[in-house]
């Protein structure tokens, strides 16, 4: 096998078929960028889950004066009820990792801090805010155990799971990921069809050469390799462009735009990009290589 001969054949082929080569590069780049974005969104969801599930807690609000849920019919929570709830929470260890008690005074202080610039602060007084237990679970998905044990008990107004709020957000992100993935798959199908057609045109435009090669006894590998390499090279260029797009998405959209405006949460790091890049290159080159191989088997038969 003479590398120089094959290399010059590949170069000639790419140049002669420039429009098709460009088309393949662009579709590969676009489809793989979307594919990469969908992978990045998934990594983002995972990162946020790790970040938030560490912080989420189940809040058990106790009855305050004037609470109107049925379990609060007996008025504000009594010290005995409060101690019993605390004891029951302790009994749920090790599922329950941590328990904080927030008194009405602390709740009011936090409230004032949160709404410092709002006139609402003046209209709320301390006794209207419920005291609460903030419970941290070892496994946040086990929320139901706590909820079923405490909700509806006398003295407890409400059991709240912060995860439910987050889950809505994660579902939104999941939806975005699914859309990106669907578009990516459609684009990848388009890419495969385009590669098939490009190979067909290339095989046709060089039928004279390949015909002679067959007659003088060139092996299949020798005949097909230049075509396969052409497909791989154009797909490789497209994949590298897609990796570039992903780096821009991480470096500009996430780090420059999203991260400064949403400081309360964590974003994917460069390690995610580093993990996705080889997948994109492999998928790009692999897919177009297989498409080219199957096409050539049909059009460059011995």
């Amino acid at each position: 096998m003479r590398a120089q001969f094959v290399a010059s054949e590949v170069g000639n082929g790419l140049r002669r078929n420039l429009t098709m080569t460009l088309a393949v590069i662009i579709t590969v780049a676009v489809s793989l960028t979307l594919f990469g974005v969908s992978l990045l969104v998934r990594a983002q969801v995972d990162t946020m889950k790790d970040f938030w599930y560490d912080k989420v807690e189940v809040s058990i609000f106790l009855c305050a004066k004037g609470s109107d849920t049925p379990s609060c019919a007996g008025g504000a929570v009594t010290p005995a009820q409060r101690d019993q709830i605390k004891a029951d929470l302790e009994s749920l260890r090790p599922l329950v990792l941590d328990i904080y008690y927030e008194s009405q005074g602390e709740a009011y202080a936090r409230f004032q801090e949160q709404f410092a610039n709002s006139p609402i602060v003046d209209s709320v007084n301390e006794s209207a805010l419920p005291e609460s237990f903030r419970v941290k679970l070892a496994d946040p998905t086990q929320y139901d155990v706590v909820a079923s044990a405490f909700s509806g008990r006398p003295g407890i107004e409400q059991v709240n799971d912060q995860r439910q709020v987050l889950d809505k957000f994660f579902r939104l992100l999941g939806g975005l990921q699914a859309i990106a993935l669907i578009i990516a798959v459609v684009m990848l199908i388009v890419t495969v069809l385009l590669v098939v057609n490009t190979m067909r045109v290339a095989a046709f435009s060089r039928r004279r050469e390949t015909g002679i090669m067959r007659l003088v006894g060139a092996s299949n590998l020798y005949i097909q390799l230049p075509f396969l390499l052409e497909a791989a090279v154009s797909a490789g260029i497209g994949a590298i462009l897609a990796v570039g797009g992903l780096i821009l998405a991480k470096g500009i959209v996430i780090d420059q735009i999203l991260a400064p405006s949403f400081q309360f949460t964590a974003f994917v790091g460069w390690d995610a990009v580093l993990g996705i890049a080889p997948i994109l290159i492999l998928v790009g080159i692999g897919l177009s290589g297989i498409a080219a191989f199957l096409t050539l088997r049909k059009y460059l038969r011995v």
Binding site: M1, I212, V216, G217
Partner: protein, 229 residues
Amino acid sequence: MILFDTVTKLYPNQSRPALEEASLEIEKGEFVFLVGPSGSGKSTFLRLVLREERPTAGNVWVLGKDLSRLSNWKIPTLRREIGTVFQDFRLLPNKSVFENVAFALEVIGKPKALINKVVPEVLEVVGLEGKEERRPDELSGGEQQRVAIARAFVNRPKLLIADEPTGNLDPGTSVGIMKLLDRINRLGTTVVMSTHDAQIVDQMRRRVVELENGHVVRDQSRGVYGYAR
């Protein structure tokens, strides 16, 4: 060298076979003319020898190999021992004479040093020395066919298949091509040539196999193109 044992070839979607129970043996070193009207089965015969087609029934042996048992990946090895020449030359228009001949060696992975040595030799055999850098469109038809013969012969094949090599040439040029094929035959290569050119066949007085409607109807060791009718 070539053995056809009751070979039948029926192409798909055709009612009449292109070859029907044809049997023929060609010995090493022979020069054989394949004659007959268009559609008589000459091209099918040559395509079967090159294993471009498989017979519908019967066996084809070429260079000691049973082609029906030859696996696909061994076909290139077979073809390296068979040179082929066509009526339409089949040269690459954007390559020079030298490059056209060298191409046949490059694509079977021969080293550059060998190519630079044997290509000038074979160009001398076919009488094209000094025209290495010409392009096919700068050559006459006869010269183009000499390039094609050089390409077919450069790997010193044991068998040369020529499908109407003089079909596009005038009689004077054809004689030159026939002398060249004769010379190649004398160098030890078996030559099988299909032709419509009665004058050439009559002059050469070599073995003549006549096909008609897919049957071998005549096989003479020192024959002429056709009987006076």
